[in-house]
């Protein structure tokens, strides 16, 4: 990790003025979503006051374990990602695709769902999630048949990144090349240092907001401090994938005994795919009104760990956990290269932390890809 602090123009926003950022965004018409503590985790929810941010809170994470504790001094971004960030804001966990009504003559009228996309500003987005967003964009927005709901919400999104200085023990974004420094894809990026924030604009919209903030020019020392913290965070990462393109290796090892071994431990519970910021699978269902006059056709998050995911008449293609785990890993680290030109893993480590039995993607991958 080598951050050239000299070329980045950054402004300094004192800690006490963070509320101004929320106010300016609100005045610009955005609803602010940011990190907050709820039910023992950092979650992304509406914030209106800076005081609602997780000041003094940090986390410790390990396979199957996540805990918060209060010893981060006066900082509010001194933590690694919680269970979710951007994905549910864009790829809704459940939403209607269209409605259909049937009249007395049996005629059907189909009505597309209208997505009410309010402008949303998300504060505190990490580099791994920006990388994941690029992949979700490629999947839902940039293909020949873009998804209207995703597209409308994506258009209305304003992103305020925070360079990550507190990677968890489960993080490995350095090895995937996706962090901890947010290189692009944001409107504003913040670096948190003891006395406040360095602010960089990454888009025209970001520049407009930045000019409305009470900032001063950042000093060289402040820039060096910020860059040093990000570099220290990168060096602190304990986990790594054994390569960035494991496609051929994985598809050559479909009969590796490790698949069966991990299936003994795996709950097939779908937590890994649900917290993964790039997993995109969904299922579609109908919810007819009781009187039968109308039906809503909706989708909801699905997972390659369910039996419904691979169901064709007569049964599931992937009946057992061995096949389902293999599908997940070979897709995430293999199939994505064919589909979107890179691995589908951004090194956020959520699948390790939020697996109830602590299965570690880096460990499984190393075991399968070892000679």
């Amino acid at each position: 990790m080598d951050i050239d602090v000299s070329v980045r123009e950054s402004r300094f926003l004192p800690s006490a003025d963070l509320q101004n950022l929320l106010d300016v965004l609100t005045e610009a018409g955005y609803e602010c979503i940011g990190p907050r503590v709820r039910d023992g985790a950092i979650v992304y929810e509406p914030v209106t006051r800076a005081a609602e941010l997780p000041y003094g809170i940090t986390d410790s994470q390990g396979p199957g374990e996540y805990r918060l504790r209060a010893d981060a001094g006066g900082r509010c971004f001194a933590w690694a990602n919680g269970p979710q960030a951007l994905k549910p804001l864009l790829f809704a966990p459940q939403e209607s695709l269209w409605m259909v009504s049937r009249d007395a003559q049996g005629r059907l009228a189909f009505i597309p769902a209208q997505t009410l996309a309010r402008p949303i500003a998300v504060l505190g987005v990490r580099a791994c999630d920006l990388a994941a967003l690029r992949l979700q964009d490629a999947h839902f927005r940039d293909g020949p048949r873009p998804d209207p709901a995703y597209g409308a919400r994506r258009d209305a999104l304003f992103l305020i990144a925070v360079h990550c200085t507190h990677p968890a023990a489960t993080c490995f974004c350095v090895s995937t090349g996706d962090g901890p420094h947010a290189d692009s894809g944001y409107d504003l990026a913040l670096s948190e240092i003891d006395e406040g924030f360095l602010v960089e604009a990454g888009s025209v919209a970001g520049g407009v907001i930045l000019r409305r903030l009470p900032t001063v020019e950042a000093t060289t020392r402040q820039r060096e401090t910020a860059a040093g913290e990000i570099e220290a965070g990168a060096r602190a990462q304990q986990r790594a994938l054994p390569g960035t393109d494991l496609r051929d290796t994985l598809f050559e090892r479909l009969e590796h005994p490790r698949w069966e071994e991990v299936a003994q431990r795996c709950l097939s519970c779908t937590n890994c795919t649900s917290v993964c910021p790039t997993c995109f699978c969904y299922s579609e269902h109908d919810a007819p009104r009781l009187d039968g006059g109308e039906s809503a056709h909706y989708r909801q998050w699905d997972s390659c760990f369910t039996i419904g995911h691979s169901y064709i008449h007569g049964g599931a293609v992937r009946g057992g956990t061995r096949e389902r785990y293999r599908q997940w890993l070979t897709h995430k680290l293999g199939g994505w290269h064919d589909q979107y030109g890179r691995s589908g893993c951004v090194g956020c480590g959520r699948c390790i932390t939020w697996c109830p039995v602590g299965i570690d993607i880096t460990e499984e991958t190393r075991a399968i890809c070892a000679d």
């Binding site: 695709l97 259909v100 059907l108 597309p112 699905d302 008449h313 007569g314 992937r318 096949e323």
Partner: protein, 282 residues
Amino acid sequence: MRTEPWSNPHLPQEAEIVERIDESDRVFTLKLRFTDSTQHDAYRFAPGQFNMLYLYGVGEVPISIVSDPEHDELLDHTIRRVGRVTDGIAALKTGDRLGVRGPYGRGWPLRELEGKDVLIVTGGLGCAPSVSVIQYMMRRRARFGTVTILQGVKHYHDLLWRARYEEWAHTPRTRVMFSADTGGPLWPWHVGPVTGLFEHIDLEPGSTLALLCGPEGMMAATVRALRGLGLADSAIWLSLERSMHCAVGQCGHCQLGGKFVCKDGPVFAYSDIAPLFSEKGL
């Protein structure tokens, strides 16, 4: 920011059942017309593509289009009753309405077929995706070399469309042969797997393309046999079956390795899927 609204790729259009034909006790054909005539006239498809049919209040299923893209006025779908949606569709009658969206996927390689000998190997009711391409060739017979149709079924009861096969068999330079895993007193043809018919045909490997559809195990055995006869991997084409759910390459259900079968297929050259095809549980 975009200024035009996002269009909805998930939205079906209303279609009416113009005619219903019962092919057997579990198989039926619906001839459909979009109720919006502009929509109907604008609709184009290629042999091997499929539509998503929507049963009101219940759900969608992917069904191959079996009519001729240029000669037929209606969209024919041959459907087997295999679950809750197809059971429900089976109860519909002429005049009833369905939702239809499509066509989806890549069909058979029509351009590559021109001037070539064509071998079609199908298994059971999986033959529906091939009907459209066979009809297409029969109606444009001069543009293709010899056409050999090998149709395998599990049980002799399962053979549909005898009249249609009969008609094809009487078309010049066209041969039709059958096999059944289980024969019977009225079954004059081959008993055994469909690959058993290969000893009765002559193939010119350099100028033949093979089109396969049916159960994956049957297609895998056929691929082995064809490669043994000297056909190149790129000369063998297969129509795959996976869980086609959204049909637009988004929901992830139909993946085979890095392919979305719904949009990269369902028809693939064997050379494009060779290492992963028929890998169990993939």
